[in-house]
């Protein structure tokens, strides 16, 4: 395993290669949920944060992390949860955004500011989006809620294909 630094790099690399169970084109690192990897003696401690409070993929992420590290010789693995700071869609990396686009998903714009009182918006907020299939900006919101907690549903009025948009949060 070599020097402690390279052991840590190996563990980090392995944890960073685990993919999200619901959006498998994204690694946990690209999604921004992988917060930290530490090596303490023989033990690897990985810290992850949920995207949404009820994210049902947390247990799967934990299991996938443990299995990936076990398979590569790390027998003692602990997965911790971090709730603060709360996950933001701004943490999705550039590579992650490209991977979303490559798979027909629309990446989030900048997350709303957390300063001051939360504004009530009775008219759906306009996002300047392009259809991930044909590139048209003629798109309409079908629903602010989608097949997973983190997505909204859109339809392209040019090519008529529906697509998913990862929400700003």
């Amino acid at each position: 395993m070599g020097s402690p630094v390279s052991v840590l790099d190996r563990a980090r690399g392995l944890a960073a290669s685990v993919t999200d169970p619901e959006m498998p084109m994204l690694t946990l690192e690209d999604l921004g949920v992988l917060r930290d990897v530490e090596v303490d003696g023989a033990r690897v401690v990985v810290t992850i944060t949920p995207t949404y409070s009820g994210c049902p993929a947390m247990a799967t992420m934990r299991d996938d992390l443990v299995h990936r590290l076990h398979d590569h010789g790390f027998d003692d693995v602990a997965v911790k949860v971090s709730l603060d700071p709360a996950w933001s869609s701004d943490w999705i990396t550039e590579r992650g955004r490209q991977a979303l686009a490559d798979h027909g998903l629309s990446a989030p714009g900048p997350a709303p500011s957390l300063e001051g009182p939360v504004a009530l918006t009775l008219i759906p907020r306009r996002r300047s989006l392009a259809c991930p299939r044909c590139g048209s900006s003629e798109v309409e919101l079908t629903s602010e809620f989608g097949p997973t907690a983190c997505k909204a549903l859109y339809r392209c009025t040019s090519c008529l294909e529906p697509f998913e948009h990862v929400k700003e949060i």
Binding site: S53, A78, S82, A86, E144, F145, G146
Partner: protein, 307 residues
Amino acid sequence: MVEEVDHESVYDGLLGGDDSQWAFGTDFEDPLAGVDTTLPDGVEGRALALYCIMLADDALVMSQRLSEWCSNAPDLEEDIALANIALDLLGQSRLLLARAAAADPSLVPALPEGSPIPAEDALAYFRSDREFRNVRLVEGPNGDFGQTIARLLLFSTWRLALFEKLAASRDKVLSAVAVKGVKEMTYHRDYAGRWFLTLARGTDESRRRVVGGLTEIWPLRAELFATHEVESLVAESTVGVDPATVADEVDVLLEQVFSLSGVERPDVAPLAGVRGETGRDGLHTEAHSRLLAELQVVARAHPMGQW
């Protein structure tokens, strides 16, 4: 590892002894694994735990009601939206119940020796109706879609206002749950507000239904802003929020929706408590017991169950 397969178990046969097949269950995990749950100075564990249970029960019961719309909503998009909102609230509830259990383990119902059921599940599935501290607004039947939207508007406006203040809690866990919850409930409140406006300014029938729904739930509004002794205690020690302090803000926001919708604030008397007790004291309506029966029946039948 075929030799390890238990041929008596259908699931084990499917897994072939490989426990990495998570689609068949991932075992329990601690939602607060590694999170520091030390009590802030000057706070009683019991008061903090009861306060967390109040906020958790509001979310849990509302989540259960909203999930009843699954496969019954007017169209697929609303089905998905209501299920998503229910899931966010369930997640908030789980974290809050786990925080309550860490703050005062003596409140967690006892289970048989060796039961694998975690503390937050024991609180959700093994308490009786009198031990639930949710406001009565969330427990009644859904009614039609109009009534569901009216209730969700009132609930999410109130809870979002509370959580915006709770973000400043001295309890790090409560503060983190609140910050995250604010982001989620911004979408819930917008959803309810837009549907309220759409229905109120839609057809005569849609207007009749949403206004009727609002009138139906309005008697339960006052209870949202009544301060329970536990809420006073946690507000004094700046770990919780006195709900009376968000009443004005909630009224202003609701008034925005009502005036755009051309709807008058209902003029109906608050639902009285029983001998001064309401939801926060564990006093509930009959509908609550029926809801709990459905929520809890499977877990109670399998107190040693592993999911």
